[in-house]
């Protein structure tokens, strides 16, 4: 049975990546290379105010002095930062109307299952479409504006809401936070911006769909979400990229600010191109995501389903400053072929009675390597802080690996910590049981894996839970035999 399993695991490796096509389109693309001149040119092109250019240049200065981190359990060919282009955007008339978006781009999103036509969209989901370095369209803006909700591209926010951007940009992830965050701060090109006013419950799901198209281009987007007091928002991001033999860098920053009594729910379905079965090509997904609960009873919840990318380095975190504030992290990370993921979270308890929950499910198949790295920090004044962590790994086949690194730092004796971790294989006995009931191997594997991920999928908005389930099914098709 083992040999047969292995055979079929190997045949998984031939799975086609559905989103691997490229769009042939005229672009404005910078020459490869990075220096102050490139950053200034980018900033000028985007008509940014001087303070933002200064902020970028300062970040660039610190980035130059920093070293690329090596502590993660990942192994990859180093990125040549001078060989990358830092800006690539489709040439089209910049306008408010969707009618002016290049039809090829609309078609690209259609092929990805994302309709930018508001009538055809899933009811109640607004989309910001980011294509390489720029946002090409944002739907339902007018509808949202009626509720005072601002949902637009980052570039627009810089022009239309400079006071908000200036106040919050870098307030959660300082430009000098880490190597990739510093790089992003220097060169970020676009992304999404969300502001939910006081006591407003955002009337629809907000989502951003990131698409990398151009070759040899880094994607550096920046997302900033601010939920004012008593407000509520659920936001989702999706990502895909063409299949290319070269690795491509995606270094994003996401900052969330939840004020008193506000809730931000942030979900990710990450399906960047993962490289081929030999591990050639694929996206380097080096992302910094962090949220802060500034006020009492604020809540930030991260849910991620990570199935793509050649290498993932990502730790969505929550700083619980307000008393009774809540941080949550629900994660499913799948690695197959030669994919590597080092992901987890950091929960920082500052306020009293703060509470965090971490549920991480790692699935490794083929030669995939999956690492959970999570930190829980209870500061001195965080009386009665509570954390519950559960990190489960499942192995499919015998060439893959799972690793767990929990870091716990408790400075207050009243803290209550619970940690559970399990590693299991999809058992031959489980498969035998399912097969004996007439359920075939693919269905059995997806059933067992979906069961394993249940608690995380339950956190996703309905429409996306279905998508996530299907994605896992496609990803793991033929992974056992």
């Amino acid at each position: 049975m083992i040999d047969k399993n292995q055979q079929i695991i190997d045949s998984t490796l031939d799975q086609e990546y559905k989103y691997g096509f490229t769009t042939d389109i005229e672009t404005t693309t910078f020459e490869p290379g990075l220096d102050e001149g490139v950053i200034t040119k980018l900033s000028k092109l985007k008509k940014e105010p001087q303070w933002l250019l200064d902020w970028r240049l300062k970040a660039y200065e610190s980035w130059k002095k920093m070293e690329e981190p090596t502590w993660a359990q990942v192994d990859y060919t180093p990125v040549d930062y001078q060989a990358l282009s830092y800006y690539s955007a489709p040439k089209y008339k910049q306008n408010d109307s969707l009618d002016d978006v290049d039809p090829d781009i609309i078609e690209t999103y259609n092929k990805l299952g994302i309709s930018l036509n508001e009538q055809k969209r899933l009811e109640g989901v607004a989309v910001d479409a980011v294509f390489d370095s720029v946002s090409v369209a944002t739907t339902f803006k007018k509808e949202l504006a009626k509720h005072g909700v601002i949902f637009c591209s980052f570039s627009e926010a810089v022009i239309d809401h400079p006071e908000l951007v200036k106040k919050y940009l870098g307030s959660v992830i300082p430009s000098t936070d880490n190597y990739f965050a510093a790089l992003n701060s220097a060169v970020f090109s676009d992304g999404s911006f969300v502001y939910i006013p006081k006591n407003v419950r955002c009337p629809m799901e907000l989502s951003t769909y990131f698409r990398i198209n151009a070759a040899n281009t880094g994607q550096f987007e920046r997302t900033l979400i601010i939920a004012d007091e008593g407000s509520h928002v659920s936001y989702l991001e999706g990502c895909t990229a063409p299949m290319r033999d070269e690795n491509q860098l995606h270094a994003a920053c996401v900052e969330l600010v939840a004020h008193k009594d506000a809730t931000i729910k942030y979900s990710t379905i990450q399906n960047w191109y993962a490289g081929d079965k030999e591990g050639k090509g694929g996206i380097y997904n080096f992302v910094t995501k962090r949220g802060i609960c500034t006020g009492d009873r604020a809540k930030i919840s991260w849910t991620q389903v990570e199935t793509g990318s050649a290498v993932t380095w990502k730790y969505p975190s929550v700083i619980m400053q307000g008393d009774h504030s809540v941080g949550e992290f629900y994660s499913v990370a799948v690695t197959k072929n030669k994919q590597q993921a080092d992901t987890g979270t950091k929960m920082i308890h500052i306020g009293k009675n703060t509470k965090s929950t971490i549920i991480s499910k790692g699935i490794s198949a083929g030669e995939g390597q999956n690492t959970y790295r999570g930190g829980v920090k209870i500061l001195k004044n965080a009386d009665n802080a509570r954390n519950f962590s559960q990190c489960d790994s499942i192995l499919i086949g015998n060439k893959c690996g799972a690793h767990t690194f929990p870091y716990i730092d408790v400075k207050n004796p009243t803290a209550k910590m619970e940690h559970e971790a399990t590693t299991s294989s999809i058992g031959e006995d489980q498969l035998f049981y399912c097969n004996q009931r007439g359920i075939n191997l693919d269905d059995a594997v997806s059933m067992i894996v979906n069961g394993f991920c249940k608690e995380v999928f339950a956190e996703l908005p309905m429409e996306f839970a279905v998508e996530a389930k299907q994605l896992i099914e496609v990803t793991l098709e033929n992974s056992v035999g």
């Binding site: 047969k4 489980q430 399912c434 004996q436 009931r437 359920i439 075939n440 191997l441 067992i448």
Partner: protein
Amino acid sequence: MIKIKNLKASIEDKAILKGINLEIPKGEIHVIMGRNGSGKSTLANVIAGNETYEVDGGSIAMNGNDITEMSIENRALQGLFLCFQYPVAIPGVSMAYFLRAALNAKNKHDGEEEMDAVKFLATAKKILSELGLDDSFLKRSINDGFSGGEKKKSEILQLLMLNPQLAVLDETDSGLDVDALRTVAKGVNEFKNDNNSVLIITHYQRLLEYIKPDVVHIMIDGKIVKSGDMTLVHEVEKNGYSWLVK
């Protein structure tokens, strides 16, 4: 229904089944009794196609079709059902989801329509109440944290829902109190009709107070050494197995 000829099987090069001959016609209940370690579960697993065991010779045929080389799920789809001695847990997969997946697979194979949710629930609830189980049982993860009795009842629930042609019950009576034993036996009797067959594997006679077998076989060291009727059960009860060893 099933015809096993000179079946030999081993695990890790250790011969366990040493030439089993067994034929169960349609409409009959057969019992295999034998001490622990005599190879009863091995036989059940080999019939079901468990690839942990190596088949070294002989054949298994169902309704005249040789299934010796057939995949596990195809045997199941042909109407073979194994009540597991130790059913495995699948965390996060609800009983309802699992049962529907199994039923859908069967319906699809038989070229029938999928059972709709309403009918599924009605059928399942009826069986659950007969087994003395709450409806909420359907929502629980399959075999996950089930008591011994719940595990066996879950197997009987599946048996009754899937309604196979041949049911192989591996020690379905072990670890049950009298009430549960009676309930399980009632389930098996309900399942049984003139068109299907049952193979009961056990090393007690407890279950046989409630289910009347047509033929009793005694298995010793991987061979069926004697076959007969209920009187054989009583002889074994009185005198043990030693007198049967040649």
